[in-house]
Symmetry: none
Subunit: 207 residues, 4 copies
DNA sequence: GATGAATGAGCTTTCATTCAT
DNA sequence: CATGAATGAAAGCTCATTCAT
């Protein structure tokens, strides 16, 4: 595993270096900037091309539309970080630990990749018009719901309303994350705890 | 003859006024549909005109841009319902009653005017680029925060984190409201209670 | 003649007073302002209507187009002043007196009606696209040319190049008139003399 | 093969460059025609595009507006002829020689490029609204005025009214040039002499 | 005659996309 | 693959003009 991690890191830096050479990455990075600045709906293919400095035709060697760039952004993100959130060896003993683990990873990701988070949080409406199941990638709400269901079955999690969880978890985490991004050197734990506490208290209620 | 003339004149001005009002309403209604279907950012003036059947020039007799249509939509809404939420004679005795009152009114509005709610909930990012103070109209979060602050001072409300409230109240209410709209004949009280309970428990926490 | 003159003057003041009541005059006056400010080519019917405060339809009760307004402006001018330049009882004894008489009248008209002069001087190109023989109205070059021809025949004028006169008289008079309008209280005689001297010296040359 | 490839590449870039230059020239030429026919103010971008046969979008690959076309027309002219008028090694000994030199060059240019002259002479009013310093290019009146001032100082030119010169020189030259263009094979010297004589006699007057 | 809302032609401009090079 | 000029659809908007009132 350690080796894998190392390799992964090496791959990252290779990627970064390749950026200058690889037009695909060039376009994706430009796309990220444009989507953050103008919003997905208002962004145009031209905007993206312009900010790469490439010829307009080159864009179509890699993508058919800005939507495909967006998908690529999320796919690349998934390759890079997605799995980190999902896969972990830590075996949470209770719901609080479980939630804390997930939320902390999510907040860490937001700090690492604020642009990706901003795109997703700010363009919720536009994104839902795509047939992207991308939003799930992030907090992977459905996945979490299932984990929670199983945890309840196993009796290690309390009997919470997992549908309500599915409904409010992401908006809450997003809001608090946005708030966190306003600070210069935010203390991730502080914000993650605030989020976890609120969620748990809200869901457990009088129980 | 005199009678006839009189009637005719009255009829004339009525007709005129009626057509005028009618076209304005026609455009606004078309705007609502287009904004709901395509999202505010993707909607074009031409989309709106097309769905009215009017000539393109007619649009500009009433509005300068789609933004003005949007403002008109919210203004009309504000005249109609806005004050209802804010002004009430009921004097809530405690935080729960207070929140319940506000949230119930909000959920009622969402049911009465689901399109307006959809536009505002789904285009948060786009709307914030306008200088509309519209978002406040809805849950009027800032206004509520102040009421809560005063309630805390007076000692009738518990000492909750009103900043956190300001951060999460709207996303939560929006999410649950969206969920409510999926049902045919939703029981408003049920959804409002769910929202209020979640908020109160989340905010009061272990207190 | 004296009676006629009187009547004419009375008619003038009637006209002026009627201005407030008469929409035709209202439109013509608005036209003058618009043509001076924007130029004939850039002026639109809408511009004219707007600056009258009348309804757009009303315009078409009087004129078919901005061109017709322009024609009316020149026609009205012709009725009012045109004849003054042409008809006079003074019988000039020589070319210098003749030219001085005409040019002085022209410069006086420019001072009285600077807007009309500005329209004609600044929109020469546009005006020539109309089938207006209006430009002649002003200095009535062709008319003057004929008077000069006859003067030469009679032997009271020197044998100047009247074609050259026809070519340069108006541009020169216009230029010097424009220059005159830059002063607050211009001395008409000074500018008229400058113009006459230049023309006579230029035309007589070494003769 | 290598030779062929080389040739092909060269041919490619030549073709490209040729088309590009061709379209630019196409638009400029169309612009000249349209400006002459309709006048600058009434001409539209569409008029120009239509008369090229190109797609509307193509226009904007080369120019942002009709004004830019106009500037290009004058710039191209300036590159081509502008300097010819200004720079010359002939050292005129007196005012007549000086004026004759300048005016002849101007009349030669009018014959070479009658359309350019027509545009400038007929659209004086419109052009003055642009921030083109184009009018100077033509007769470069201000430049000439300064040369004359210096000539007077040096004592090689008579003490003429150079302000009057600045006022009337261009209109006179334009008028006579327009007249010249009516002839099939005009004798430039004849017209230039007529212009010079008129100017000199007018300016020197009784002196 | 006065009104002014409705009309739709037509202008400016931008955009996604293609394709010869 | 890279290029970038050409394309034409389509957007925003204004205008002259009509016509019911």
């Amino acid at each position: 595993m350690i080796d894998f991690d190392k390799e992964e890191k090496i791959e990252f830096s290779n990627k970064r270096e390749a950026t200058k050479l690889n037009n695909r990455t060039l376009i994706i990075d430009a796309g990220i900037n444009v989507f953050v600045e103008k919003g997905v709906a208002e962004a145009t293919v031209r905007d993206i091309i312009r900010s790469t400095g490439l010829a307009s035709g080159t864009f179509y060697n890699y993508f058919k539309s800005k939507e495909e760039v967006l998908i690529a952004i999320f796919d690349d993100y998934a390759l890079e970080i997605g799995t980190k959130i999902r896969n972990h060896k830590d075996e949470p003993k209770n719901f609080e630990e479980f939630l804390s683990l997930k939320v902390t990873r999510f907040f860490n990701y937001v700090l690492e990749r604020p642009e990706i988070h901003l795109i997703m949080a700010n363009n919720h409406n536009t994104l839902s018009n795509f047939s992207l199941n991308t939003p799930q990638i992030i907090l992977e709400i459905d996945y979490l719901k299932n984990e929670i269901k199983e945890g309840i079955k196993k009796g290690i999690f309390p009997d919470i309303d997992f549908d309500l969880f599915g409904l409010v978890a992401r908006p809450i985490a997003d809001s608090i994350a946005q708030d966190m991004l306003l600070e210069k050197n935010p203390n991730v734990k502080k914000f993650a705890d605030k989020c976890v506490n609120f969620l748990i208290n809200g869901l457990l209620g009088g129980k």
